[in-house]
């Protein structure tokens, strides 16, 4: 059993606490889902339970924690590791061994458990997560989903009663996410105590049962704590509107339409209650003027072919989203489009002119690129200098630079931080700064690589609004993402890449109705589309559209 009483915690050098008088009790064998916006204290709470916070990170702590009778503030971390295991967000940082088998035996070996016992525990953990056949493989060669399953196997081999998981699918594509959730479902059946922090609520809702628990954190405080149905039904609106959280699409739909009792997933929806009218999709690539044309593109790293015979066009002034599994070649394709990589074969035309014949500086002036990790792009010591950097390189007049930078600092809400070092900003501020540095240069095309990884609803909505605004200014947007809800909300044109080849180009509606393509590329359509299809309107892909198209809701 876990008991947290009046827990308050301050990170080193921070004045305000990251956890504020947290009280929580978790019974043995319970499944607890922790929700909260970015920076609300979810990970901090998990790290306090195994003593990492107290012994590794430092800072100040007040209150009392008890995990199966052990106090993590007093016990050593290795002692706590026999009681609670932690699976972290980034698969790359938590796996340290060369082979799959070495990774799983690593923990029990550290505990000096007998060799036979260690081997047995490792083999059964690998079988449990479906990686036994890969036990001699090199960890670096696994896919993202396999790496996270391996991290879960490593936690299982420790044979702890409690497993805590901190957004284990944040970096994974839909296929990898699904693999991990299948394993978590099996873990639930083992009746272990599971604490899961997760943003992908549409996946996690499928796991939740009536006696599971949902805990919601905001600004370091537990603001909601109860059974899933009660939390979503009673407080769903507040969670969405005030705390910036994403709800499962079916729940959001039910709340917006006032349906009671609130269904948690499609299986609980009474389809006879709806009568919806089909609509013509308002997002389709009607504009046929191409700004970028890719012809017979091939690209290889040494002997490894990454892109092979790729052909497509990017329509001017629209949003094109490139989707595909991790490692399918999306980022390589984007880097070819901007000229950071040179095609092995084929050509890329920008406004009808071959990209390779253009001066690189003029390409970078016309095509902006926002990288996945904003901190990689910062080159100066203050936020203001960072915004002005691109303008200075173009030798613009000082007065113009000053007025433009003032305008952009205000537009992106960065005035108060203008004298701070860019790397000291919060993740949301860093992201806004990276957009500002690109947009101030007035690019004709803006490329974004995985812009919504680990972002909460509020930040995702902000980005969608920004994209719409840019589009209205005639800027062409190209995005690489795994997020199907985000895709449904902003894409006019979708390109699906699988094993280095384009297997689909068209609009979102067409993609979501091509099951063969979705399966081949390891993608999945969002629940609202599944429901709409069931109701005979397969052209509906977002909650917004569903609500608009609702002609009649039959009250039972």
């Amino acid at each position: 059993m876990i008991k947290v009483k009046d827990l308050t915690y301050w990170y080193p050098r921070m004045e305000s606490p990251s956890l504020d008088r947290v009280n929580l009790e978790i019974n043995d064998g319970e499944f607890v889902l922790i929700l909260g916006a970015s920076g609300s204290g979810k990970s901090t709470l998990l790290f306090s339970l195994n003593g990492i916070l107290q012994h590794e990170i430092g800072g100040r702590i007040k209150g009392h924690i008890e995990v199966n009778g052990k106090n993590p503030t007093e016990k050593e971390v290795f002692d706590m590791a026999t009681t609670i295991s932690l699976v972290m967000q980034d698969p790359e940082v938590q796996l340290t061994q060369m082979t799959v088998f070495d990774e799983v035996v690593f923990g029990p070996e550290n505990l000096l458990r007998p060799k036979e016992e260690v081997i047995q525990a490792a083999e059964s953990a690998l079988k449990f997560v479906g990686l036994y056949e890969k036990k001699d493989c090199i960890v670096n060669e696994l896919s993202g989903g396999q790496k996270q399953r391996l991290a879960i196997a490593a936690a299982l081999a420790m044979n702890t009663e409690i497993i805590a998981m901190d957004e284990p699918t944040a970096h994974l594509d839909p296929k990898g996410t699904n693999e991990v959730f299948q394993v978590i479902k099996k873990l639930k059946e083992l009746k272990k105590t599971i604490i899961l922090v997760e943003h992908k609520v549409d996946n996690v809702i499928e796991l939740l049962e009536e006696d599971d628990r949902v805990v919601v954190l905001d600004n370091g405080k537990i603001i909601l704590n109860g059974r899933p149905r009660e939390i979503f039904a009673k407080h769903g609106r507040v969670m969405m509107d005030e705390f910036g959280l994403a709800l499962p699409q079916i729940v959001e739909l039910a709340l917006r339409l006032g349906i009671t009792p609130i269904p948690l997933h499609i299986g609980e929806v009474d389809c006879s209650k709806f009568d919806i009218n089909p609509i013509a999709s308002n997002r389709s690539g009607k504009n046929n003027i191409p700004i970028i044309t890719v012809k017979d593109l091939e690209f290889s790293y040494g002997n490894g072919v990454v892109l092979n015979g790729v052909n497509f066009t990017i329509p001017k002034g629209l949003t094109t989203v490139i989707v595909g599994q991790n490692g399918s070649g999306k980022s390589t394709l984007l880097q070819n489009i901007i000229g950071l990589l040179k095609p092995t074969k084929g050509k890329i035309l920008f406004n009808g002119v071959e990209l390779n014949s253009l001066d690189k500086k003029s390409v970078f002036r016309d095509i902006g690129y926002v990288f996945q990790y904003p901190e990689h792009q910062f080159v100066t010591k203050t936020v203001k200098d960072e915004i002005e950097y691109g303008l200075k390189i173009r030798n613009l007049e000082r007065s113009i630079i000053e007025s433009r930078s003032r305008e952009f600092l205000e537009m992106f809400g960065l005035e108060k931080t203008k004298d701070r070092h860019p790397l000291t900003l919060s993740m949301g501020e860093k992201r806004r700064l990276s957009f500002a540095t690109m947009l101030i240069l007035e690019p004709k095309v803006l490329i974004m690589d995985e812009p919504v990884i680990g972002q909460d609803r509020r930040r995702t909505q902000y980005l969608i609004k920004l994209i719409d605004k840019l589009k209205s200014q005639g800027i062409t947007i190209i995005i690489a993402t795994h997020d199907m809800n985000f895709l449904a909300q902003c894409a006019d044109n979708v390109i699906v890449i699988n094993e280095g080849k384009v297997i689909f180009q068209g609009d979102v509606v067409k993609l979501f109705n091509e099951k063969r393509i979705l399966t081949a590329a390891g993608l999945d359509d969002p629940p609202v589309h599944k429901l709409a299809t069931k109701l005979g309107c397969p052209e509906i892909v977002t909650v917004e559209q569903f609500c608009t198209c609702l002609a009649k809701q039959v009250v039972a």
Binding site: G107, N110, L111, I119
Partner: protein
């Protein structure tokens, strides 16, 4: 990242040999080369290494020649410098050949040694602290990741209009200046998270740990090593001179 001389699985004599024994053998070769000052002995040792590479490690002659070609310009420079500065043709030739002779055992070692087995062997056979083995493992896992990150940082700067094709010392320094900060932040962030992850797996709980993978030196490994140690001393006290031996190992005893 594909390295030219990285490990290639196989079942040759050297593949089967315990990595620590192989490591000591390599050290003996280096020491032998230290005390060899005549080019004929060095050439003999070089030919012997090539034969061992061909028969014992099943390596191709071209493959070994490629390794020699890489070091050849440096070896030639050292030879010529010694010949012209000291004025001793034979000594100069020996110095150049030394550099070539030290390459082959290195290539045999890297091509036939599984890095995973090496780390286990260093800890289990040579009794290095297990923390050391862990560090090698982590480096092996993270070097390609950091290489990707550096690449991404460089690209991110290029699209901002930063000239990343700067040449010369000043250019390199400028490049280093702007990439090192974000890279370090990434390294520190990953190191902290990795440290948290391994502590959560009870790393460092006890002075010892269990090993499910056990590696040890076989009878043949020991015979091979003994033969080389004996050969070393035979050479040192016959063809080599006691004064060379003394100056190599006990420079203070001159």
């Amino acid at each position: 990242m594909k390295l030219k001389f990285q490990y290639r699985p196989g079942n040759s004599f050297f593949h089967k040999m315990d990595p620590s024994i192989k490591f000591i053998w390599m050290v003996i070769i280096v020491l032998l080369l230290f005390i060899m000052t005549d080019p004929f002995s060095v050439l003999g040792l070089l030919v012997l290494q090539i034969l061992m590479g061909k028969i014992g490690a099943k390596m191709g002659l071209i493959e070994m020649a490629r390794a020699l070609v890489i070091i050849a310009p440096a070896a030639l420079t050292v030879s010529l410098l010694n010949i012209f500065v000291i004025g001793d043709l034979l000594y100069g030739a020996a110095m150049g050949l030394r550099m070539l002779a030290v390459v082959i055992p290195g290539v045999i070692f890297s091509k036939t040694t599984d890095p995973r087995r090496l780390t286990f062997s260093l800890v289990q056979v040579l009794k290095f602290p297990y923390m050391f083995g862990f560090m090698i493992n982590t480096a092996y896992r993270f070097v390609p990741i950091f290489e990707d990150e550096l690449n991404s940082i460089t690209n991110a700067h290029i699209v901002r209009g930063v000239d990343m094709e700067l040449k010369g010392i000043r250019g390199r320094f400028k490049k280093l200046q702007i990439t090192v900060e974000p890279l370090l932040i990434g390294v520190i962030r990953r190191s902290q998270l990795t440290s948290m992850a391994v502590q959560n797996r009870a790393f460092g709980a006890y002075p010892n740990r269990t090993y499910t993978y056990v590696t040890k030196a076989t009878k043949w490994d020991k015979i091979f090593l003994a033969a080389w140690i004996i050969s070393f001393f035979i050479y040192a006290f016959t063809l080599g001179t006691p004064s060379q031996l003394l100056s190599t190992f006990m420079p203070w005893a001159k």
